[in-house]
Every structure is written in C-alpha cells, then in structure tokens.
C-alpha cells in the first residue's frame, strides 16, 4: 500500500495514495494505523482523496484506527472522501461514527 505521512498543524496527516482499499491491502492499512497510535500519534487525519473504491474490510481498518485512538482520548478524522466512497459510510451508518470533513482545512479548523 502506498501511504504518505506528514505532520501539519500538529496533526498526523496520512494520505492514502492507492485508488483502491480492499481485503488485499486493508490489513496493511490497519497495521500502519495501529503502529502510528502505539507510537504516540493522537491526532490523525486520513486523506481519502485518491481513493475511488473501499470495501467492508477497508471500512473495518479505519474503524479499528478510530477505536484505538478514541480509547486514548485522541482524535481521528477523515477528509476528502469521494462521492461513491462516501455512500458506503452512509449505508453502513459509519458517517455517524467518524469525524468527516470536506478537506484538510475544515478538519484543522474544527475542534472535534
């Protein structure tokens, strides 16, 4: 999986460079998020702007990151979700679980 991690405004911004998250690479995403959290990252924004497709295991990987960071009183947010991908969050009602922002600036300027 092609991931890019930057520190911006005190946030750890993880940009997913792949167009597709499915059961083939979601395990890697999940592991990467867990290691970030174990390493001390408390404010994570996952940028999904490149992602055209996500399956249920991809949603599961994001959910896992969210749970672990919330357990440490941190923050987990998603940004730049494409239309069809967003409909997956809506159908599974995970849009009520995740903090979802239109873009990075909106995520930065929100208190959560």
């Amino acid at each position: 999986m092609n991931l890019n991690l930057e520190k911006i405004n005190g946030f750890s911004v993880l940009t997913i460079q792949d167009e597709r998250i499915d059961a083939h690479n979601s395990g890697e995403l999940k592991e990467y998020l867990l290691q970030m959290i174990e390493g001390g990252d408390k404010q994570i924004i996952v940028q999904l702007g490149h992602v055209r497709f996500i399956d249920s295991s991809g949603l599961g990987a994001l959910l896992s990151g969210n749970k672990h960071i919330v357990a440490k009183s941190g923050r987990f947010a998603l940004a730049n979700i494409q239309k069809q991908v967003l409909s997956m969050f809506e159908l599974t009602r995970l849009n009520r679980v995740f903090e979802i922002y239109a873009d990075l600036n909106e995520a930065f300027s929100n208190e959560g």
Binding site: D22, A23, Q84, L91, L94
Partner: protein, 141 residues
C-alpha cells in the same frame, strides 16, 4: 444461441490480489447496460463492491487455503437482469442466520453480506453436493 447478451466467467486462484480484477470486470460491465436508467456510476461501484465482497468470502471461507485452489465467478447480463454467481468448495453456511451488523456498536467485520443485500435485489446461498453457490440478482430498469 446466446441466452445472455454477455456472459463472463472468471476463475482465479484463491488470492486477494485478484479481487481488483474481478471488481473491475464488474465495473466495466456496468457500461454495457444500455437499458439501465438509474445512476450508472453508482451501479458500477456497487457491482465492483458486490463482486469484491462475495469473492473475498469465497476465498476466506470457501476452501482449504492452498493457493492453487480456485474461485469461480460468473456474471451474466440478460435484458432485464444481471446475475452473479460465486462458487465455493467450503463447508457452506446458512445465509438466513447471518445477523445484521450492529449499527450502534459497529464491528470491524460482518458488513459484507449486508452490503451485498443492500445494493442487490436478491441473494441466495445454495449448498450442492460438491460446491456451494452464492447467487446475486440485480433487476435492471
């Protein structure tokens, strides 16, 4: 004689790296649905998703995990109907007893069949003597 407009049968080794191929073929077939009046981009996504979810299940549960095992997927497009079948050689399961996801306490798994049922019109799982088949139907209007 052709009973369908398009029939695509795909057999892959039981490896998740081929999910993208199978999903992409489904997405591509959505372009051929001349008579479909709904949201074609949404349908393309849904076919990709449904094929991906169903194929993962067949890979995960459907066979002893030797990589030389294979999963067969068929996609048949008729005038008013798209029919998808995913075959597995595992123990099988009872589709009717699979619970809905717990939306209040969402788990990291258990959403695949819910998604398939949400987007498609009919889903059945049948055990035969030497294989099982998940059959998914989408009516096209």
């Amino acid at each position: 004689m052709c009973s369908s407009f398009i029939q695509v049968d795909v057999v892959i080794q039981t490896q998740t790296k081929y999910l993208d191929l199978i999903g992409s073929i489904g997405e591509r077939i959505a372009k051929e649905l001349d008579n479909f009046t709904g949201d074609r981009a949404a349908l393309a996504y849904q076919l990709n998703l449904v094929l991906t979810e169903a194929t993962v299940n067949a890979i995960k549960h459907g066979c002893d995990n030797a990589p030389q095992n294979c999963v067969r997927v068929t996609i048949h497009l008729q005038e008013n109907e798209l029919n998808i079948k995913v075959f597995d050689h595992g123990q099988g399961f009872d589709l009717e007893t699979v619970p809905l996801p717990d939306f209040e306490h969402p788990g990291e798994s258990g959403m695949g069949l819910f998604l398939i049922r949400s987007y498609m019109d009919s889903v059945t799982y049948t055990r035969q003597s030497d294989y099982n088949v998940l059959e998914i139907i989408k009516h096209l209007k």
